[in-house]
Symmetry: C2
């Protein structure tokens, strides 16, 4: 977990914020949001909201009251307390890539498997820059659809002791995630209701629609006091207008509608204001990531989240449309990750491993992204400027035209004075060539292998492990797999 004590980069003036507020309020009152779930509609009706079929026209003042019930920051407990997290305020939490059906490793792109899933969780556990492996770090296509959420949860719980995300594929699967989390924490439901232990991605089916599956998961997690990340998934030109302010207004309207619902289910329930906002490439018709629009959107979202006192999620972290681990993959990724730091995102998803517009979890890209996180954590650490840091003695010692390599000030500090890369090379050309002339992607592949070879599974009580395994076995049978 990183504490970002640097200034926020803010680009909206009070007029702009007022305009955006007018925008999201009008969407809620005049266009409305449809909720494909009777309980959700009933809750909103009982709260006095105007309903037409499954479209709910929300009163903005009611919405703001509900939003105010959500905590501005909350703790998220891990089974290893050292890995517990704070979501909100100045903290930034980084989770790995999520939801990819394919993996890429070296030159091979193929359907993801459970073995890939496990190796990616191990990488997430190994690197301290990653606070959570997330949830569906890839889709293990070799496991049955009905029960793979059990396999994934078991892997997340046993191969790492960092917090993880719950399944959102149905209310029943959400209940499995919650029950297995009770087991792994070993102190019953009350214990995880007191301090949440699960995050769960609830995507809006944008524009302005919550589908049955997502609402079922939202209600299940909110009821258990676990933290839904309520995320409008917006590609401008497809699910939102081709205008950043319009998309931000829509994002706020959609997320606030979901947050209002979560607060009706359980007042005070921790939630995260989600954002995942980029654009359609109007030439290829494909999603575009890493461009100026998503960077600008991150800055806007951060500022609004602070305005309304909510912890917020940056879409990513590490996004790119590139098909391979090339220059584009790197500049796209940094152009979403650096703005996430500037904007002070509290939760950054897809922080490591994302490739090919999110279709691919890539092992080498995982390492590139870890390097970016390492660089940015250093870059966003406030500079200490004081008498000692002026190192005047070094100037006196070296004088004119000399060299600082051997001076006392340097000798005392040379091991820790600068950022030390994991992946980047500064070798001169001849040595680099002699050592194989490997580019960053090739070197990243070696870091993957080395990290997995050195991976150590975190300790877990045998009885707890057995109870988890029993639960998975029983539920798998019930689900017919």
């Amino acid at each position: 977990m990183f504490v970002n004590r640097m200034p926020r980069y803010e680009i909206l003036d009070p007029d702009a914020i007022a305009t955006l507020e007018r925008g999201w309020k009008r969407i809620l009152t005049d266009v409305g949001v449809s909720f494909d779930h009777p309980e959700a509609v009933a809750l909103l009706r009982n709260a006095g909201q105007r309903i037409d079929g499954d479209v709910v026209f929300l009163d903005p003042e009611f919405v703001l009251e509900q939003v105010a019930l959500a905590p501005a920051a909350f703790d998220l407990q891990a089974r290893n307390p050292e890995h517990s997290l704070r979501i909100g305020g100045d903290t930034m939490v980084f989770a790995s890539v999520y939801g990819c059906p394919f993996v890429r490793e070296g030159e091979v792109r193929r359907e993801a498997t459970m073995d890939d899933f496990e190796r990616l969780v191990k990488l997430s556990h190994a690197f301290p820059q990653i606070d959570s492996p997330g949830g569906v770090i890839c889709e293990p296509g070799d496991r049955p659809l009905d029960s793979r959420h059990l396999d994934m949860t078991y892997a997340l719980q046993t191969l790492s002791d960092k917090p993880y995300f719950g399944s959102v594929t149905s209310a029943e699967n959400a209940r499995d995630s919650i029950r297995m989390t009770e087991i792994v924490h070993g102190r019953g439901r009350e214990h995880i209701e007191a301090v949440p232990a699960l995050l769960a991605i609830v995507n809006v089916n944008s524009p302005l629609h919550y589908d049955e599956r997502m609402l079922a998961a939202l209600i299940e997690y909110a009821r258990a006091g676990q933290a839904p990340i309520i995320t409008p998934f917006l590609l401008m030109g497809a699910m939102a207008p081709v205008s950043i302010p319009a998309a931000i207004a829509q994002q706020t309207a959609e997320a606030f509608a979901g947050i209002a619902l979560a607060q009706l289910v359980r007042p005070g329930c921790p939630v995260v204001l989600g954002s995942f906002l980029s654009n359609t490439d109007m030439q290829s018709g494909s999603p575009g990531f890493g461009g100026p629009e998503s960077a600008t959107s991150l800055l806007c979202t951060g500022q609004l989240a602070r305005h309304y006192g909510l912890p917020w999620r940056a879409g990513g972290g590490g996004l790119t449309s590139s098909q391979t681990v090339d220059a584009q993959a790197a500049y796209d990724a940094l152009n979403t990750m650096l703005p996430a730091f500037l904007a002070g995102a509290n939760l950054v998803m897809h922080s490591a491993g994302w490739l090919e517009s999110g279709l691919v979890s890539c092992f080498e890209k995982f390492i590139v992204d870890i390097e970016l996180l390492r660089v940015l954590r250093e870059e966003f650490t406030p500079l200490r400027v004081d008498e000692e840091s002026l190192a005047f003695d070094a100037h006196v010692e070296v004088g004119q035209g000399g060299h600082f390599l051997g001076c006392a000030h340097t000798l005392e500090r040379f091991r820790t004075c600068f950022y030390r890369p994991l992946l980047s090379s500064t070798e001169n050309f001849e040595r680099w060539k002699r050592e194989g002339g490997r580019d960053a992607a090739a070197r990243a592949g070696e870091v993957v292998q080395k990290t997995l070879a050195e991976y150590e599974e975190p300790p877990l009580d045998d009885a707890v492990r057995a109870e988890l395994a029993d639960y998975v076995a029983r539920r798998r049978t019930e689900l017919g797999d």
Copy 2:
């Protein structure tokens, strides 16, 4: 020329600025700067500065008075007025890579030639994101050392009509640059003295030493009213202590000493506060670029330049230690270019083509960097947030669960609503694979070829061209080449 109307990202509080000021003042008064040039020493002695051999102990108050004589912003004229520039204030000017003995093109790395020089100038002319090809865009190793400055200047003047940099290899060569600039502007020395037409890189031989060659060039350009970019070249651990504040204090002391001298040569002379500050990789012993230290240094330098009312140069723009056009090259480059935008650099050198710690001018990297500049120019354009941008009609038209691709608001704007990449690909994997599966570096090579094929030489009066050619021929003979 880009006008950066976004907020500056400032990380130094008034205490930190005061501490840094104490630091640079103490270096000047207590350690001093050596000037290996009798005229420079004489000028400083006559101005009342304390001298010991060639070491000058400068009075900070005198230095600040001299610095205050330099304009906070100035115009730089091009022979094509459309390409004239403003250096200072909110403007950002981008110049290509400078000083590389090698080139890289595809998989080939070799000594640079005059043909490479010309092709790189043509690329610089072709892309509107580049305001100046700079000067030594690569070292044409196939031309005689004594006269190659003539060949380079002639190429800069004829293949582009953007402003360029003067030679700094000797006083005589500086005079050649100035004389040739008089010729190409066609209106005598007075005309270019009234509004400067040349920038010239004056590197400090850090720490705290100005060598004879650089001082000769500085004096020559200042005398002609052309703008020296007075640049401490600092790799912490080698030419500066292993501490950013110490290096910033040193950078300020060194640059201010040179600026004070320039103002003695010609009061009011335009100057640029230069910075080129990165660190030694203490593991490889090689220079490191693109890391957190250089990004932080850019932010500090920008803030100090504004504090003292000087236009300033960012080291780069596009820096990397990578040996090839890979992920590292891209993330290093963006991690110097994006901070240069955040810091509001007035002149960004090495904005396109830099590779391998500045040893290599790379054609494909040139295009990667152009893409970064295109993205960042868009990203640093203020977002318009108003009623129209809320696109409320689009929301009314599309409603819940629909699609914005065909709505009126999108159809009216789809051509221009988003950033359009030059290099980045959003193609789906199958199409990308079918089209050759080329990575960003391979595609960049194609952009190079296409751009050069479509290059058009800017018009130049035949008589002027002949006069330039005559000058070059005559001087070449005088120089014995």
